[in-house]
């Protein structure tokens, strides 16, 4: 059952009121019970006093005297009878004594009336004495009963107070425990629910979109949790698209970057990428005093091929050259299209000899792999200029320039050959 927090507070308040009324009721009831016990004792004591007075009267007066007036007796007896009729509510045991008291009182009255009727004119002193003793016995019987009643009533007062105190203590203890339990439960529900909501907000803040799982259900917190969970769901959906968007943008950016650094025809690095990488290798070599060699390759008679077989074939041929070069260089080497039919290969940690070896491998491979068109085999050659970093090179352009000059040298010297710009004082 889903109870609202307000209802809980209402029931708790109602419970408090009920317990308070219960406590108040038990206090009132107890005080009445104690009052009743006291009134019984008071009643018994009044009876004792009244009987004592009557006893004194009978003992002192000459009830057989001619001038004896029964007025005093009657007044006291009427009082005693009235007192007996005005008894408070008694216990069963006390009621038995009360019945005895009433009977004894009736006997007392009968006896006194008979004695007083003719004043026992004909009777001897012995008879008179005996009947007076009988009257006294009767009074004593009443007094004994009254004393007995008083003793019971006193014991009853003690028992009643003890019982009622125990009752009030029990009711108070139960009430306090119930209130503590109620308030603890209520506080615990509110505190736990608030913590759960707070934790959910904190997680949400950190991008962990988890629903609020309430350990205690209440209409108020359930509605907060529902609203939060709905909001969270929407937020998590839109946040997922942003992530994906970023991923897509990153991918696209990466592709664009690749495109901006790649020659669209040959798919090798373009001039921009070449300078970026070559500058980096130049700086590194300068810094670490490592060797750095450049190969500048130019396709021989490329214009003729284009004229004879068309530009498309020319393009295919350039791709072929790149493939051959790519196969013959190391992983750390870098191939780029420098312009038209010119390519540059950056060879880090490589001296002139290594550059010549690489250039030879490329030329040999190219010689072995010709390109077929219209049933004819077309074989191309490369003029390769090699330059190696030396003290006179202040920047990359000078190094490239050396390679370029070497390449022109190779052209001049008959093409399909390798020329090295003499590099003196190599470090």
């Amino acid at each position: 059952m889903n109870i609202s927090l307000l209802q809980r507070i209402f029931f708790f308040t109602l419970g408090c009121c009920f317990l308070f009324i219960l406590l108040l009721g038990s206090v009132i009831w107890s005080s009445q019970a104690i009052e009743l016990a006291f009134s019984r004792n008071n009643y018994a004591q009044q009876l004792t006093n009244q009987t004592n007075t009557l006893k004194q009267l009978v003992a002192n007066d000459n009830i057989y005297g001619n001038n004896y007036s029964i007025n005093d007796w009657q007044t006291l007896e009427v009082k005693l009878t009235a007192l007996l009729k005005s008894s408070p509510k008694l216990t069963e045991q006390q009621q038995t004594i009360q019945n005895s008291l009433q009977n004894q009182n009736e006997s007392l009255k009968s006896l006194f009336i008979l004695i007083n009727k003719n004043k026992l004119k004909n009777a001897s002193e012995i008879i008179k004495k005996h009947l007076k003793a009988k009257l006294m016995t009767q009074l004593e019987a009443i007094r004994s009963d009254a004393l007995h009643l008083s003793a019971i009533a006193q014991k009853d007062i003690y028992n009643t107070i003890k019982k009622q105190a125990l009752l009030i203590i029990s009711v108070s203890a139960v009430s306090i425990l119930a209130l503590l339990f109620g308030s603890f439960t209520l506080t615990s529900i509110v505190r736990k629910s608030l913590n759960e909501v707070k934790n959910a907000f904190e997680k949400n803040h950190c991008g962990d979109y988890q629903n609020i799982q309430l350990s205690h259900h209440s209409q108020e917190f359930d509605s907060i949790a529902d609203a939060f969970n709905t909001m969270n769901k929407k937020l998590s959906e839109s946040t997922i698209s942003l992530t994906e968007m970023k991923k897509i943008v990153d991918e696209r950016t990466h592709v664009l970057e690749q495109l901006s650094k790649t020659d669209p025809l040959t798919k090798v690095a373009n001039r921009r990428a070449l300078f970026e990488r070559a500058n980096m290798e130049f700086s590194r070599a300068m810094r670490s005093k490592n060797k750095l060699t450049l190969l500048l390759l130019d396709c021989d008679f490329f214009k003729n091929v284009n004229d004879e077989f068309g530009h498309l074939f020319g393009d295919e041929l350039l791709i072929h050259i790149c493939n051959i070069c790519g196969q013959e260089i190391r992983d750390i080497d870098f191939l780029a299209r420098y312009g038209g039919e010119e390519f540059i290969i950056v060879l880090p940690n490589c001296d002139i000899a290594g550059g010549i070896e690489t250039a030879n491998r490329i030329q040999n491979s190219l010689a072995r792999h010709c390109v077929a068109i219209e049933g004819k085999k077309v074989c191309v050659t490369l003029s390769i200029g090699i330059s190696m970093l030396s003290e006179r090179h202040q920047n990359l352009d000078q190094l490239i320039n050396d390679a370029d000059r070497a390449m022109y040298l190779a052209k001049e010297n008959g093409r399909n050959r390798i020329e090295v710009l003499p590099a003196l004082n190599l470090h």
């Binding site: 069963e92 045991q93 009621q95 038995t96 004594i97 019945n99 005895s100 009977n103 004894q104 009736e106 006997s107 007392l108 009255k109 009968s110 006896l111 008979l114 004695i115 003719n118 026992l120 004119k121 004909n122 009777a123 001897s124 012995i126 008879i127 004495k129 005996h130 009947l131 003793a133 009988k134 006294m136 016995t137 009767q138 004593e140 019987a141 007094r143 004994s144 009963d145 004393l147 007995h148 003793a151 019971i152 006193q154 014991k155």
Partner: protein, 296 residues
């Protein structure tokens, strides 16, 4: 073993036995049913039984003989148990008319004492009437045989006479004129006997509470036990007060009856002993101290 007088006055004993109140205390109790407190007294004195039930009148008469007995507790009182029954045709309208009549009583009991009290109220003594002594159950026979014109039986003989002689008798209204009590007695008690008396009184105390809270059931128990009719129980029940006590009024009552018996020469004894010798409050003080009210 308790000699119990076969009268509804012994209700607390019958109820205690029926509801098992004695089982809860420390003695096993057996009843020896007798007719009249005098016979119960005799059985106590002969050692046949440990305890007996006797009226205060019997105690008064027996105290004169200085017998070695004690009273432990009073358990019932009635202000109308002994009744004056007269022959209707004898036209006895008041006690005064008893003068010179033949009257049947049970000697040394409440029956005889009550007659002397009634006579005293009119300034008469037993000398003014002709006394005939009968056993309690034979009083009515004396009346039927016309040996007597009046008799003073206790219950249930009063009721039986009324049933038997309906129309021939007159029962006088004497309620309140003589309060009779029934008491638990034994021979002068040693510690063991006091201990036994304590157990009996504890059982009686439980029975008293039961009688107070279950009067209907208690009546039924006595009716079954004494083979009585509901009519009879209703006849006597309102006169009875069942309560345990040991107080000054019992002593005064016994003493005044003893003095009376000596003065009116109902007994051969001349000296009235100290009644306190015949009261033993030790058992009662242990069970119900607040019901004890005698000079210590």
């Amino acid at each position: 073993m308790i000699a119990v007088s076969k009268t509804p006055l012994s209700t607390p004993f019958y109820v205690a036995k029926a509801i098992g109140a004695f089982d809860e205390t420390c003695v096993s109790v057996k009843f020896d049913e007798v007719v009249g407190g005098q016979r119960a007294f005799a059985k106590v004195m002969s050692g046949e039984v440990d305890f007996g039930t006797s009226s205060d009148s019997v105690i008064a008469f027996q105290s004169l003989a200085n017998k070695a007995f004690v009273t432990h507790a009073m358990f019932v009182q009635s202000d109308n148990d002994v009744k004056l029954i007269t022959r209707a045709s004898a036209k006895i309208n008041s006690t005064m008319d008893l003068k010179g009549k033949e009257i049947g009583v049970t000697h040394g009991t409440a029956s005889e004492y009550f007659l002397s009290t009634l006579l005293a109220l009119e300034g008469l003594t037993t000398e003014d009437v002709e006394l005939y002594h009968y056993k309690p159950e034979q009083l009515v026979n004396g009346f039927i045989n016309k040996d007597i014109d009046a008799f003073l039986p206790w219950e249930p003989f009063g009721f039986q006479s009324a049933q038997l002689l309906n129309g021939q008798i007159e029962i006088h209204k004497t309620k309140g004129l003589n309060t009779l009590s029934f008491n638990l007695i034994s021979v002068t008690a040693d510690n063991l006997l006091v201990e036994k008396a304590k157990c009996v009184i504890q059982g009686l105390s439980i029975a008293m509470d039961y009688i107070a809270s279950h009067p209907k059931e208690s009546k039924q128990i006595v009716m079954d036990e004494l083979k009585l009719t509901a009519e009879f129980i209703d006849w006597v029940w309102s006169d009875y007060i069942f309560k345990l006590g040991l107080n000054q009024s019992l002593m005064l009552s016994v003493e005044s009856q003893a003095i009376w018996a000596v003065a009116t020469q109902m007994t051969k004894f001349k000296e009235v002993p100290n009644i306190e010798h015949f009261i033993d409050s030790r058992a009662m003080l242990q069970v119900m101290p607040n019901a004890v009210n005698i000079p210590q």
